[in-house]
């Protein structure tokens, strides 16, 4: 009994292992979100509308298979001729002709011209099987692509036969043990035009190419994947000169390790305002402010300092060209071109409207992967226009990517007006670990710049509003005057400081005066006291004299009286 259960357990685990076998596509990101690749030995349906990149996807699968994984492949193309395919992927740097020559790849173009075919009686698609079988066996192919097999439906009349034969074909492919991609054109209300998803049900990947507000974004979704978990979201993907890359971004991850290390800001006065004398490494920093408050200058200072320490920096510029930034920064005493020359600094400039958010993110992710920077700058995030949730999700994921890689990311954001947060600012505020707010103070016919630290997670920081100046040797802070009327800056501050000095002087003088007055009063009073005391003493002496005289008089009266009595007695 126990043995039997053990046995069934073993078979169960064996089948599970079997089910989990996957064939990597070599397409960055896709393997991550399918947890390893396409199901080995099974057909996968790749569907999407025209121009989604189905063929390119399939080609990449084959080419990567032969160049990276040692698995030769067969492409059976029902639409494009071999030569056209070669030309098409040559733009991605793939040398298909060479692969064909080295027997790593077979391209078979199946061409059906309805006009020259007459149907008479029963037939089957054994010819296709023979061709495919021959192609697979001739190079020992492990991967097969049938590029838009549904083209058969337009070439042949009897769709009942076709359907039966397709079902047989997919079963046959499974028997052959080849990992296949079958592409299909998107149909109305179903995944493919002729509903072949009915027959290919192990793994279905949907490609999509949407235009929103004149911006195109390619997206990919794994609709189903039998026997495996997979990422279920829509993921953006890129096709450019680097090939295809899918961006599997999971914003749910918050498990990245954090660093205690401080990264200097590049502005020593700003370092002093932060409790740890810099930003935490791997944190996200937002520098927000109005136009002309020096956001890019702060960003460049940070980059300049980082490159000076030998760190690698990636600068995503969405408003200025790299040359312009380099030129402008020389005016504040920064030579960024030396870092570019040393290969420590790389600019990636693109208009925000060039792609959708997802595309930008995908591109940035790829650039980050390739350049492996320690510091990135995105200047500015406010250049992204669109619904706030999209901006938010894009930036969340960008911030997550940076955090998971320990990259310190500095974002700048252009505020529209003094107090109001822009959409992008509001949506990212909670993401940012440190937020430096740059402000303009306009008064007395001049404009001055102040900054304050809105927040800085995990450290004590200065809460003071500080005036700063962009000088020809960098950014410098000035102690701002904070008085009852608010903050004074520039000449107003200087004037106010002068007034302050004057006032304090006069206050000092007044005190002195009062002190002297009191002293004078004291002497006056003391003198008075002395006088009084003197007069009192005089009085006392007078009184005593009088008392003495009185006593003397009393005595004399007494003696006189006794004298008179004796006289009277004697006479009587």
């Amino acid at each position: 009994m126990a043995a039997k259960r053990k046995n069934t357990d073993a078979t169960a685990s064996a089948t599970r292992l079997e089910a989990l076998r996957k064939t990597p596509t070599g397409i960055k990101g896709l393997d991550a979100l399918t947890l390893g690749g396409l199901p080995t030995g099974r057909p996968t349906l790749l569907c999407g509308a025209a121009g989604c990149g189905k063929t390119l996807f399939a080609m990449t699968f084959l080419i990567n298979g032969s160049t990276e994984f040692g698995e030769p492949g067969v492409l059976m193309s029902f639409e494009e001729r071999a030569r056209d395919l070669e030309t098409n992927v040559a733009s991605l740097g793939y040398d298909v002709a060479d692969l064909v020559q080295r027997k790593q790849l077979v391209i078979d173009h199946v061409y059906i011209e309805r006009a020259e075919i007459e149907e008479s009686g029963e037939y089957d698609l054994e010819g296709l099987f023979v061709r495919l079988g021959h192609a697979i066996d001739s190079i020992g192919a492990k991967r097969v692509v049938l590029d838009t097999i549904e083209a058969l439906f337009s070439g042949l009349d009897d769709s009942a036969i076709l359907r039966a034969e397709l079902r047989r074909l997919f079963a046959w492919l499974k028997d052959k043990g080849v990992t296949a991609i079958i592409t299909g054109e998107r149909g109305d209300g179903q995944l493919t035009r002729y509903g072949i998803e009915e027959y290919v049900s192990d793994c279905v990947i949907l490609l999509d190419n949407r235009v929103e507000e004149q911006v195109t974004t390619r997206r990919l979704r794994v609709v189903k994947y039998r026997g495996s978990s997979h990422g279920t979201n829509e993921y953006p993907f890129l096709i450019d000169e680097h090939g295809i890359s899918v961006l599997p971004i999971t914003s749910a991850e918050l498990g990245h390790s954090v660093s205690q290390e401080a990264v200097p800001t590049g502005v020593s006065d700003l370092d002093d305002m932060l409790g740890i004398h810099g930003f935490f490494r791997g944190s996200s920093i937002l520098v927000s402010g109005l136009a002309g408050t020096g956001k890019s200058t702060f960003a460049s200072s940070f980059v300049n300092a980082a490159c000076g320490r030998g760190e690698r920096c990636l600068y995503f510029a969405f408003e200025e060209s790299p040359d312009q930034i380099v030129r402008n920064m020389t005016s504040v005493g920064m030579n960024l071109s030396q870092h570019v020359e040393r290969g420590l600094l790389e600019f990636q400039a693109a208009r925000p409207s060039l792609y959708g958010f997802e595309m930008h993110l995908a591109r940035m992710n790829r650039d980050i992967e390739e350049f492996a920077p320690q510091v990135i700058v995105v200047d500015p995030i406010s250049a992204f226009r669109g619904p706030s949730f999209e901006i938010h999700s894009t930036l969340v994921r960008l911030a997550d990517i940076c955090k998971s890689k320990g990259i310190t990311a500095l974002f700048t954001s252009l505020s529209t007006s003094g107090e109001q947060m822009t959409e992008s600012e509001r949506s990212v505020s909670s993401l940012m670990d440190t937020w430096i707010s740059l402000k303009d103070m306009e008064a007395n016919g001049e404009r001055n710049r102040v900054l304050y630290l809105l927040k800085s997670r995990g450290m004590n920081h200065s809460k003071q509003l500080r005036e700063y100046q962009l000088t020809n040797h960098g950014i410098h802070m000035v102690d701002a005057y904070v008085g009852p009327d608010g903050v004074l800056t520039g000449t107003a501050r200087i004037a106010q400081e002068a007034r302050e000095r004057e006032a304090s002087l006069s206050r000092k003088q007044a005190t002195e005066r009062r002190r002297r007055e009191v002293a004078r009063k004291r002497t006056a009073v003391e003198r008075q006291i002395a006088e009084l005391r003197a007069s009192l003493e005089t009085e006392e002496t007078e009184v005593e004299t009088l008392i003495e005289q009185e006593e003397t008089r009393e005595l004399s009266i007494g003696s006189e009286r006794s004298e008179m009595a004796s006289i009277r007695g004697l006479r009587s």
Partner: protein, 115 residues
């Protein structure tokens, strides 16, 4: 496609020299399936009836020479290919519908124009 590699039987050959308006036909099959056999016998019958004396038929078994499938763009089986006269024509199926084979091989219209 060298002659040596060809593994096929030439069912009938009227002349070694191609006739001026001769039909060079090739029938692709895969093994001795009922469909294959039906196609072969249907084709023979049809040629004898309509093209007597001016046709050649090659039967190619793709199970033996699968490499020939791609060259002639074979997808469905059985496939009858008219290599000559130009242009290339194909008829797929077991050729049980004679009418459609004749149309497919442009024989019907030809005979029609003659009469």
């Amino acid at each position: 496609m060298s002659e040596k590699n060809r593994n096929h039987e030439i069912l009938e050959k009227v002349s070694d020299e191609p006739v001026a308006d001769g039909f060079d036909l090739r029938l692709y099959v895969a093994g001795q399936t009922p469909k294959s056999l039906a196609a072969i016998s249907n084709l023979k019958k049809l040629c004898e009836t309509h093209l007597a004396g001016r046709y050649t038929i090659e039967v190619i078994d793709l199970l033996v020479t699968p490499q020939l499938a791609a060259g002639d763009q074979i997808v469905a089986l059985p496939t009858l290919v008219r290599r000559l006269p130009e242009p290339l024509k194909r008829v797929i199926g077991d050729l049980s519908n004679t009418e459609r084979v004749l149309v497919g091989l442009d024989i019907r219209s030809k005979t029609g124009s003659r009469t």
